[in-house]
Each structure stands twice: as structure tokens, then as C-alpha cells.
């Protein structure tokens, strides 16, 4: 954990995360911009103030796609190496919804683990910074394009550390749509059963999923009650309040996994996005008036 970052630094980083992803949205004919808007403070706070990570030795400019894992290819640079050492006492950080890859790369840039030029490598054929994160993409521990598996892998990781009596916490970031999958609840059930108080789950609750508002696609509330009933310590915060997120991360209770419910706005920081509601999942700007409006906004950020 780098104690040199102030709250003001985190605010600036969050703003830059939005700016980086808006740049991609303009230059690459669309991107996952609303996810960046909702999760910017969450990622910035974690990377700059909460996570206890060591320095990264992974390439600051991501390299060519290293091939998929196989018996002859197990030494490729794993995405998780961008978080530094995977061993105790350092924390681990699993990012579950792989379509958050763009804000994750932006966050790694702000956390000084990727060069700013790395953004150029986003979604380029043959390179590792793919649009949907997998084991070889910076910041990702697993093939997260299929939702709700990371929480279980993280659970196993936390369990392994418990079995060995090791220090350090295992953090997981998820999105609210993922609350609909059964696997999440299986993971929570097991985490409570095995008393994994070294497991911390943060959920970006931006009220959105592909088909529109979560409450209209498949309701998931009341979340705090559900998590509490499953044996977790559940805390709800304003997901754009850096200090609240940081405080919540200290609210863990013995023998219980900690769940931090971050209620966010998918248009935070880029108010024009409100005009696109309720479909915000992937933002592709129409050439002409809309594109020019966002370009002007970007230049003034």
C-alpha cells in the first residue's frame, strides 16, 4: 500500500480514469464508458489507498499476446502480476466483470503500473490488452468474461491463505448485474461457512446492465439484507465517496467475509450520458453532433 497518495490524488486519479476511457470511446468507435464513470472512485481508492500491493515487475507497455495456457506455455506473464507479488502478506485483487477492462487499464495507469502510452495498445489485434479481460490481460487474475467465476476463484485463494495462516486480504470487485447469477451466492455461502474474514467483496451498483436498468431486467434488491442473511458483514456506501469506501474496508468482522455495496451513478463525471439512458452498457457515439459534443467535453476535462 502506497501511503503517499492523498485523497486529492485519488480524486484526480478517478477523474483521469474517466478521461482515459472517454478517449477510447472517441478514438475506437465506442467503449465501456458508463462502467468507468460508476467505478472510477472504487478503483482509484482501492489501488491508491486500500490495497496492500508490492511493486509490479510486469512490462509497463503490454506485450504481444503470449498464447493461451497449455502444458508448453505456463510461464507467460499473468495479468495478476500487474498487482505485484501474488504471495502473502500482500493483498490479492480479483476483477470479476471482464468488460470493465478499459477502466481497469486506466486505473493501472493512474496507479503507475502501466505507462500512459499503454492505452494505445487497447484492443489491438495480437496484443494482450484485450477488450474483455482474461488471464493474460493486465490486472486480471482469471478469464473473467464469463461472469461470477472470479468470486469463487478468489474464495479458494482466500481459503488457501487461511489454511496456511497467511496474512493479507483477497479483494474482489463485482458489478450489480452479477448478483443475478447463482454462483455468487454459492461462493458467499462457502465463504461464510469457512469463516473467510480475509475475503472482501466490493460491488459497483450502478443500476445498469445490458438490457437496461437492473430493477427492470431482474431485481436484485434488497442486497444488504441478502448478504447479511448469507453470513457476510455487509456495508452500503456512496460509491463515489472515497473516504467512505476506505472506511468501509476497515469494517470487517471476525469470521465473516466483508461485502461493501458501492451505490454509484453510471453517468458520474460525464453528465451527457444521461441522454442515453436507459441503454448505457456500451457507448458508441454517433458521428456528428453527439461526437462533437463529447469531444469538446473531453478537451475541457
Amino acid at each position: 500500500m502506497d501511503n503517499n497518495y492523498t485523497i486529492a490524488d485519488v480524486e484526480k486519479a478517478a477523474k483521469n480514469i474517466r478521461k482515459h476511457v472517454l478517449k477510447l470511446t472517441l478514438e475506437r468507435n465506442g467503449c465501456y464508458l458508463s462502467q468507468a464513470c460508476s467505478s472510477a472512485e472504487l478503483f482509484a481508492t482501492l489501488y491508491l489507498r486500500v490495497l496492500n500491493l508490492s511493486e509490479s515487475n510486469a512490462p509497463r507497455l503490454p506485450e504481444k499476446f503470449p498464447g493461451t495456457p497449455s502444458k508448453d506455455n505456463m510461464d507467460y506473464i499473468q495479468g495478476a502480476e500487474y498487482h505485484g507479488s501474488l504471495k502473502a502478506p500482500y493483498d490479492r485483487f480479483f476483477i470479476s466483470p471482464a468488460h470493465y477492462a478499459a477502466p481497469v487499464y486506466a486505473a493501472l495507469i493512474e496507479a503507475n503500473r502501466l505507462d500512459e502510452e499503454a492505452l494505445e495498445m487497447f484492443n489491438r489485434d495480437g496484443y494482450s490488452m484485450e477488450m474483455i479481460g482474461a488471464n493474460h490481460t493486465p490486472g486480471f487474475e482469471n478469464a473473467a468474461g464469463t461472469l461470477d467465476q472470479a468470486i469463487s476463484v478468489a474464495g479458494g485463494t482466500a481459503h488457501a491463505r487461511k489454511l496456511r495462516g497467511e496474512e493479507g486480504r483477497v479483494f474482489v470487485m463485482m458489478s450489480d448485474g452479477e448478483m443475478e447469477e447463482g454462483q455468487l451466492w454459492e461462493a458467499l455461502q462457502a465463504a461464510a461457512f469457512y469463516k473467510l474474514d480475509n475475503l472482501v467483496l466490493l460491488v459497483d451498483i450502478n443500476g445498469q446492465q445490458v438490457e437496461g436498468e437492473t430493477k427492470k431486467v431482474m431485481n436484485i434488491e434488497p442486497l444488504e439484507d441478502r448478504f447479511t442473511a448469507f453470513g457476510a458483514k455487509a456495508v452500503s456506501v456512496d460509491g463515489h465517496d472515497i473516504q467512505a469506501i476506505e472506511e468501509a474496508a476497515k469494517q470487517g468482522e471476525k469470521n465473516k467475509p466483508l461485502v461493501i455495496l458501492c451505490y454509484t451513478d453510471p453517468t458520474q463525471g460525464i453528465p451527457y450520458l444521461n441522454e442515453r439512458r436507459p441503454i448505457l452498457h456500451f457507448v458508441r457515439l454517433k458521428q456528428g453532433e453527439e461526437f462533437d459534443k463529447y469531444t469538446k467535453f473531453y478537451n475541457e476535462m
Partner: protein, 329 residues
Amino acid sequence: MKIESDVHSKNMIKFAQENEDVLVLSADLGTSCEVKEFPKVFPEKYLSMGIAEQNMLSWAAGLAREGFRPFLHTFAVFLYRRPLDQLEMSIAYPNLPVSLLGFVPGITTPGGVTHQSIEDVGILRTIPNMTIFDCGDATDVESALNICKEVNGPIYVRMLRGQMPRLFSPDKPTEFNKGRVISEGNDVALFSSSICTEEAMRATQWLEKQGVSVQHVHITTLKPFTDPLVVESIEKVKHGVVTMENHVTIGGLGTAVGEVMLEHQLHKQLIKVGINDEWTHGASKPYLLKKYGLDAASLIRAVEKILDKDLGFKEEELEEIRLEDYDRV
């Protein structure tokens, strides 16, 4: 060649207008799977099931048992990988008329390995009561729903979305368990499916110019696989058989053709063009086709092997590959 869009979107609405008890189910990807307009026309027939596929499959079985005809829409991977047990035990085993419409099949998405259904046909061919239909153009897509109705049982369709070519005249809809002859020939038999057929047609044009006579058949039904045209085509040709699929080379079209050859003792060389037993990753379509050996150039090299002849092929001689909207998942 005409490029069309909204093909399934329009067809699903038309089909629901003409058929009773049709229900469309989605797992939060409806707007990415051609049923964005459907709920505006038939709000009461659109069931949003959320990001919960295992539940959706068994739920559809419940609906089907009560007389409804559910058409499930999501990315192919999320229909058979995650909920395979539910597919087999809730739907296939009791032989229920549930239609699983799987979008972005094979490598037709930049979403990487979690989104690319490269082994679906192989897995599903082993399941009793299962029917498998693989679309290659707009006419196949339009014919799919009537085929689902005709089959009246568990059916998995590799569906296309967005822009697609019209390779075959809509006046001749695609038929169940019947291949479509694209060209007659007697040197090499070529069986292609899915988006590979469009790609293969670029290669066969070049091959004809080199004097190679190709019997090219477009396959859509992978299970059952009993069209006599397959045996006829293999018996007809002098040199051998090539298959080309948007899938791994184990378990899919190539294997199905191989099984037919063994069963009928047709002792000829078979080369399977497809993904060679490796995982894929995220990138644009032209890049993936080339990297995983699914492009026209790979097909020509396979034919050269069958003929044991260097045809002097140069990549620039092929037409420019049509670029598509693959910057979205």
C-alpha cells in the same frame, strides 16, 4: 453479394405473429441478440431472465411442458457451457421443444475465449435427442425458426446477428438435414458450414480458375447428419475431401464427415480445416480467421495437400476480406 441486417430480429417478430404460444427468453443479452425490437411489439411474450442461465434453461423446460414454445436468446457459450447439465437433464433428456438460439458462434466475436463457442457442436453432437443447426447466411437465419418448429424438440442453433451476407436465394429456404450444393465438381469434395462457407466461396472461385473442380456443399444441420448428398459427393470426387468449420477440428463437421466416410467405407483422404485443438483469444475477425487457419488461404493450402500439387497460390490474389462490425462484443 448482398449484405443484410436485422434478419433474425424481423423474422422472430414475424414468427411470433404467425405461431401460437411463442415466448422469447433472454439472459440480459437480448439487445445484443436481435431481440431489441421484439419486446416493443410483444411485451407479454418477452421474458427477461437476467444473468442466470442455469435457471433460464430449466425454467424454459417448465414453460415448454405447459405448452409454450420458448426461444432462448443469448451468446452461444452461455447456452451450453455454463448450463450443460440443465440443457441435458431438463431439456434434452425429456425431449422438450425448447429452441436454444446461440449468438456469436465460434470466433465471430472479439470477446476472447469466454465468449467464443469453439467446441459447442462437438459437445452437443454427443447428446441424445439434440438437433444442431448452424447458420451461414441470411437465408439460413430466416429458415431457422421454421426448422425449430418442424423439429419440435430440443434444438441448438448457431445464430448470426448484425450484418450478414445473403448467399442463397430466399425463394429456396434452407431445409432441415439437407445440404446445399454451391458448385458441382469431381476433383475435391468440400463441406463447409457457418461463416466458413462465405470464406470458402472466395477460395473456390480461385481454385476453379486453376482448373480444380470442386463439389462444394454448404452444411447447416450437424445433428442428425444423414443427408445422402454427403455420401454422393464423396463418392463422386477423384482426390479427396476437405471440411471447413468455425469450430475446433475435433467433434464437429469434420468429425461428422469422417464418421460417414468410415461407416460407408469411403477410403479417401480427409483434411479438416478448423481450429486445431487450441484455445482462441480476443481480436478482430480477419485476424482470428487467419491466425487459427479458418481463412480462404488455409482452405487452398488444404486442397493443395489433397491434390499433392503446388497451385502457385499468392495471398494477394484473393479478394479483400470483408470487414465487419467486430469492435463490439
